[in-house]
Amino acid sequence: MFEYCADPSQLSGLTWLSCYLTTGTHFNFYWSFLTVLMLLAVTAPTALAFGFGGAMMARSPLLPVSLIGRGYIAAVRGVPDIVYFLFFVIALDQGIEWTKHLFVCDDLSQPVWNGTEFRVCPAAKVPLATSSAIWHSAYGFATAVFTFALVFGAFAANVLYGAMQAVPRAQLETGEAYGMTQRQVFRRILVPQMWVFALPGLSNLWLILIKATPLLFLLGIQDIVFWARELGSAKTSGNNPYPHGDWRVFYFLALLVFYLAFTRVSEIVLGRLTLRLSSGQATLGGEQLRKAGA
């Protein structure tokens, strides 16, 4: 990056370090932090949407719908979620390719799952073997987001379901007494009031979501863990202009600091948000705010 970096073997000390930390592969490492942030930015609203859907289903007066909602919440919570991560990445991939296989392939006589093989015709591969690397990584990222959203959606559904139940029944009845329909009561009274009850659970979930992002590595994404291992492993002078010993411990230390800082900042922001949402609510926190203001 800098001009004086042309011949790394002549450098030493801080200049060497500044050149070392600005190599192309290091920029890949820095970009992967953005991948993590992007995953969080996409997953959090998606998981919230899944959770909202799950909670609404669990509350449904129709028994089958309610059972699906409850089943979704219960199934994800009893089993380690890493099992889901490993499972969905293959299952989703195979499901998509199998569906595509039924539509685009000419020869459907051969079974797709055959002994130790999963075989679809080349036209049914997702993404196609001929497509560019960007599509491959985009597809990988999309499956990862979907898996995260599915697992965390169940947790969010649990929190939101509890929050919806926590809204005082009298509030809803007041709405009904004013002649609102069920839908209006839900939209105008239940949803605005439930957030303050959901916030402790959701903030907890957000902190857990942050701490689950290193699992991207297991899903085959080139994330920060991947690059930390890649860059930190010992480099010999033969093929690398910046030879060094096994530095993985420093890279992982950097990741640890990153996560600690991220958690701390999140905690502070969520604390402020709780304060904001508590105002005007008929809860202990809201009452304290009212007294402080008066």
């Binding site: 380690p80 499972f87 965390f152 600690l260």
Partner: protein, 278 residues
């Protein structure tokens, strides 16, 4: 080769995760029995990590909770930092970091006053990963116990004072039992959560020697070989649900013991609220 009967499979692979029995893992014609046996054999490690980390972690957690509640900053600050360090960072990263640090220990052993202390065993999962899990669960449980200690009813403490109980005996007879009682439902969730976390061990730096791994390690092995995730992963799920139910039963028994002197309408039941990866 003659296909093995299920009993033979159990004899060959039932203790495979400990290195006892058949050396080679099945390579073709995978049967459902092999799936159940090998993955079940891997559960030995999950139980090993979970039980020992929980047992050791319980004592450290109590000490940390007390330290965090103490008035002196010399004991409070280190406890706060320890808890923040382990609760604020992903367990996955903690495993990786611990492994890399342990690898850096001198291979020949450390010489302390003429006695050489071996270091090679610390990089093995049974020791290194257990140590990380122990510290991790201690931090999480300490936060739970600290919260419980803070919510011990004022009347209980005043009653202890009125009886003239002070210092250690006040803690031993009044504060500690109440703290455990109040924190127990949350601690149950933490225990379930810890058992779920043990599945991370062999996916995070710590290598499995001679293919001696945990339940998820073998499930992953089968899924890689058969390209069929629909059998091994649900089996892991099944084993974990059974384990979770067992844990809830044990912790409920303890909960009933902790609440034994209260009128029966006040004792709360433990609700399953397992959390996700830490």
């Amino acid at each position: 080769m003659e296909p093995m009967s299920c009993l033979e499979t159990i004899q060959a692979y039932g203790l495979r995760s400990l290195g006892i029995g058949e050396r080679l893992l099945p390579r073709s014609d995978f049967t459902l029995c092999q799936h159940f046996t090998l993955i079940g054999s891997g559960m030995i490690w999950n139980i090993y990590f979970g039980v020992l980390a929980l047992l050791f972690g319980f004592f450290l957690a109590n000490a940390l909770a007390l330290a965090k509640a103490s008035r002196s900053p010399w004991t409070r600050k280190p406890a706060e930092w320890f808890i923040f360090l382990f609760r604020g960072s992903p367990l996955f990263i903690q495993f990786f970091l611990a492994y890399e640090v342990l690898v850096l220990l001198p291979k020949a052993g450390i010489n302390v006053m003429g006695i050489t202390i071996e270091t090679a065993w610390t990089t093995r999962a049974w020791a290194g990963a257990l140590f990380v899990l122990f510290l991790n669960t201690a931090a999480y449980s300490a936060e739970i116990f600290y919260g419980a200690l803070k919510s011990v009813p004022k009347g209980d403490v005043e009653a202890a004072d009125a009886y003239g109980l002070t210092g250690w005996s006040r803690f031993r007879r009044v504060l500690w039992p109440t703290m455990l009682r109040l924190g127990w439902p949350a601690y149950t969730n933490e225990a379930i959560f810890l058992f779920h976390a043990t599945t991370l061990v062999f996916f995070s730096g710590f290598p499995a020697f001679q293919q001696k791994g945990d339940a998820l390690y073998y499930a992953n092995y089968f899924a890689d070989k058969t390209f069929n995730p629909f059998i091994p992963y649900p089996i892991v799920g099944f084993y974990f649900i059974v384990l979770t139910l067992l844990l809830i039963w044990v912790f409920n028994r303890i909960n009933r013991y902790l609440n034994r002197y209260l009128p029966s309408n006040l004792t709360g039941r433990i609700r399953l609220r397992a959390q996700v990866i830490r």
